[in-house]
């Protein structure tokens, strides 16, 4: 098995607020991430696909095709958007790194026809990220 990772960046705004909780609870749990008008990050996404290289092309996956999937599914959907209000898949969820990475996994997995999606890592800042992978696949 060979693992291939493609990286992309997008910039987006979000805020953390749970309408089922009181104003004070929201402030206590989410801190400055609860500021009402939101804030933003430069996100870095790493998408890892695994498979055996095709004997004819030497490729696990056609990078051009992968790039187009990422452009269509992620960049167009999330780049320069307010995640809470403009990304339908995140409706009703707090747009934490944990939740966004799962949404990204669910968007990408059915679209990847060559190779298999192995891991998605989303950096919110260089010091904070979330990984999503299938149970049983190693995280590293």
């Amino acid at each position: 098995m060979v693992y291939l990772t493609r990286k992309l960046e997008f910039s987006a705004a979000h805020l953390y607020h749970n309408p089922a909780l009181s104003v004070e609870e929201n402030k206590r749990i989410f801190g400055k991430c609860n500021n009402p008008h939101g804030h933003g990050h430069n996100y870095t996404l790493e998408v890892t696909v695994t498979g055996e290289p095709d004997p004819v092309t030497g490729m696990v996956v056609d990078l051009k095709e992968l790039k187009e999937i990422l452009e269509r599914e992620i960049t167009q959907r999330m780049d320069h958007r307010f995640l809470n209000y403009e990304v339908a898949e995140l409706k009703g969820q707090i747009p934490t790194c944990e939740n966004i990475v799962r949404v990204i996994w669910n968007l990408l997995e059915p679209k990847i026809s060559k190779g298999r999606l192995h891991k998605v890592r989303l950096y919110e800042t260089p010091d904070l990220y979330a990984d999503c992978y299938r149970n049983g696949a190693h995280g590293a």
Binding site: N18, I29, Q93, I94, Y133
Partner: protein, 141 residues
């Protein structure tokens, strides 16, 4: 391999500390041969980066595996405060006998952080420099 999805949270921390690699089980000459300049008698230092990975269910009310404020304060108390701007050999009891190689530092940090009550510790990665990285995920692999 169509299991459910697993989510992990990764967080990077930093501390700066000095150490000297010197084993009481080796003689002076062997220490110099094994550890080279890392055996220089007065020690030297590094800017360490510690990457901590935890897993668990994502709480639907918060969207979080663990509140970062809880993780940050736990790591601060257990690792950063006792290690930062310290001499690992002199100031951290675990390294009085154990040589503070980054292998051992990585294991010591894992042992300290596995008590984190709000999520499961998956692994600890320590960068001694940008070129040397060590990873430990406990023994039960």
């Amino acid at each position: 391999m169509k299991g459910g999805l697993k989510i992990e949270l990764g967080r990077r921390y930093r501390f700066s500390a000095s150490h000297r690699l010197h084993s009481s089980r080796l003689n002076e000459e062997e220490n110099r041969r094994v550890y080279g300049k890392c055996n220089n008698p007065y020690g030297h230092g590094h800017n360490y980066v510690v990457e901590v990975s935890v897993s668990g269910a994502v709480d639907p009310a918060t969207g979080m595996i663990a509140n970062l404020a809880d993780l940050d304060s736990f790591v601060e108390r257990e690792v950063i405060e006792p290690f930062d701007h310290k001499s690992l050999n002199e100031d951290v009891a675990a390294f009085r006998e154990n040589v503070p190689t980054t292998e051992n530092i990585c294991k010591e940090i894992f042992e300290r952080l596995k008590r984190f009550p709000k999520a499961k510790l998956e692994r600890v990665r320590v960068e001694e420099t940008g070129n040397n990285t060590f990873e430990y995920a406990g023994e039960e692999l």
